[in-house]
């Protein structure tokens, strides 16, 4: 079996993995660890009853990853509970995003997923109320200079992150899901309007299609795919979970047009199916082809994504991997801000780094 198909098979049809040699397990475990999906790998193997067939040493790494992921989940549950206590009395809708939403609705995507940061979405007019309620309950601004505060408040889609002064956990308060300075502007009012209430909790979560579109936008419009595979695994998990409902797929495509997120949806479907064999109805794939970028851009994205998610046999990155990673980083900034703003931002970051060094 070729090395670059390891992760695909561990996450889709893990049976042949039981034939792997120890050096092959080495590549698999360390690549999965680096990309932050080792906990997911453990859960998927366990669902197939395959964990005991793994040789002892790699099995111990899977075991460790599960313990770490379960701990993150425990922290997040407590954090959601504490935020509910701080914000439960407020009379406007508060939407949990990403990891917190997956956890509170007990979706399989939250098994083995690592991240204990909480993301909230509220209407722009309610930002200040939420911020001060959290500050009153022990959260505080992480040390940020005037530029950072200014940057977040004027140009970003979220407030500067708040950190709890005792537990150290982070809350991000969003008023929309993509930076207002970027090119795509999904209307947050539409997201809020379609959000669904969660039983036994004061929070809401995005509706099924919006959850997928948010994950797609996060991975392919806002992010730099630094953890490449982790974002794609999320998308794959969401699609597999919601996809059993046949009306989901048409709603997803319609909704992507309504929210102006057709390109991220195209990328999400393309790479999720290419990398993880996500079962997507062929008619939906055909329909989404019209959202594809121009041919050269598509070729370049294919190359960069393949590069970024390929496991590496040695413990250190090759030069092409480095170039692919920095290209995606540059791309994410290019999509996030108009050129002049980007220039200003980069000059500031450079100055800060220089001053930091000379201190």
């Amino acid at each position: 079996m070729a090395i670059d198909t390891f992760l695909k098979s561990v996450l889709t049809e893990p049976k042949p993995l039981m034939e792997l040699s120890e050096p092959q397990w080495d590549v698999l475990i360390h690549s999965a660890q680096r990309m932050g999906v080792l906990g997911r790998v453990q859960y998927r193997l366990a669902e197939g009853g395959l964990v005991n067939g793994v040789p002892t040493q790699p099995r111990m790494h899977l075991e460790s990853a599960r313990i770490v992921a379960d701990n993150e989940r425990r922290i997040m549950r407590w954090e959601i509970n504490r935020i509910a206590r701080a914000l439960g009395e407020l009379q406007f809708p508060i939407v949990l995003l990403k990891g917190a939403a997956y956890l509170i609705t007990d979706m399989p995507v939250s098994n083995g997923r690592v991240s204990s940061d909480i993301d909230l979405l509220v209407h722009k007019n309610n930002l200040a109320t939420v911020e001060s309620a959290l500050i009153a309950h022990g959260w505080e601004h992480t040390k940020l200079d005037d530029y950072d505060q200014f940057y977040y408040r004027i140009w970003s889609h979220e407030l500067p992150p708040l950190r709890h002064r005792e537990r150290g956990t982070i809350v991000d308060i969003h008023h929309t899901i993509l930076p207002p300075t970027g090119r795509l502007h999904p209307d947050p009012r539409k997201l809020m309007a379609a959000a669904v209430a969660v039983d036994g909790s004061p929070f809401r979560v995005l509706c099924a299609s919006d959850m997928v579109l948010h994950s797609a936008a996060h991975a392919f419009q806002d992010g730099d795919l630094k953890r490449g595979l982790k974002d794609i695994v999320d998308i794959d998990d969401l699609l597999r979970y919601f996809g059993v409902n046949s009306s989901f797929w048409d709603e997803l495509v319609d909704r992507s047009q309504e929210l102006n997120l057709v390109r991220p949806l195209y990328y999400a479907l393309r790479y999720s199916s290419l990398v993880l064999n996500t079962p997507i109805p062929p008619a939906i794939m055909d329909q989404c082809r019209k959202f594809a970028p121009s041919w050269p851009t598509g070729q370049l994205m294919d190359y960069l994504v393949a590069k970024i998610i390929s496991p590496r046999s040695q413990g250190w990155p090759g030069i092409t991997h480095g170039i692919a990673a920095s290209s995606l980083y540059v791309r994410s900034h290019w999509l996030r801000m108009p050129p002049l703003l980007l220039a200003r931002h980069l000059v500031h970051q450079w100055r800060q780094r220089r001053d930091h060094r000379s201190e």
Partner: protein, 302 residues
Amino acid sequence: MNVSQISASELRRSLHDPGFGIRTGPFVVRINSPIPSVADGLGLLYKDFPFAVNSFADFHVRLDRPYNLHRVWHPQVVCYLNDECPFAPLPSDQALAVFESLLNWSIYATTYHYLIIHAASFERGGCAAILPAPPGSGKSTLCAALVSRGWRLLTDELTLISPSTGSISPLARPISLKNASIDIMQAFATREVFSPKVYNTIKGTIAYMRPPSESVARMHETAMPRWMIFPKYQAEATTSVKLLPKGLAFLRLASGLVNYSILGAMGFEALTQLLERTQCYEFLYSDLNEAIDWFNRLPSTN
């Protein structure tokens, strides 16, 4: 095949390219370095450890020279764990100490299937003693002294407790001695082998004592903890021992455990069971011979 079975020059060559794996207890560390002092240090301290050929490696460690002026001028060593670089570069004459700390750190940072106690431990007659203590308490000195007098070395820094069986998995790695205890131990344990001193590290001067061949040969043999002893070295003190209530021992231990909170309920269970099966003491000492006498008189029946 053991490390001692290949020549020093061959060791240097193969460490540089392609590198090699060494088995230490449950782990395999794969090391790669062009720096001769690393190869020589490994040849000296890890002489009895087996190479792990064609196997899974838990940690990929690389110690390299930087690609800048510090390659030749005030030469430095940069270290990598997998593809990450966890520490700032250090002077290259500290390379051996960098390797040892990096390996400790690798185990701390990625191992959650054991409860890890920052403690030395050693065994005799099937019973193990755990010595948890902050740096400066003389835990490594005491450990080296006992090991040089026939106790089996389990570990000098990281005691790995299996949550399911409660037993200790030995690492049998070199014992790190600091500052004054280096000369004391060289005079006390004349048959043991010591590495050259490494000067000016964060912890002062460091030297390593090679683990006895027998401890290394038995590194896959786990041991059940029987005693939990909090040592304290105090100049001129006569040896004195005090039974420590288990509640107090629990609090002392739990506050210093690295991965305890991440293990959740499993960590609590493991720690409770550990304390149930051990007798806990506070141990004040200054004279090594007196201390060894006391340890040797511990009842060795299980």
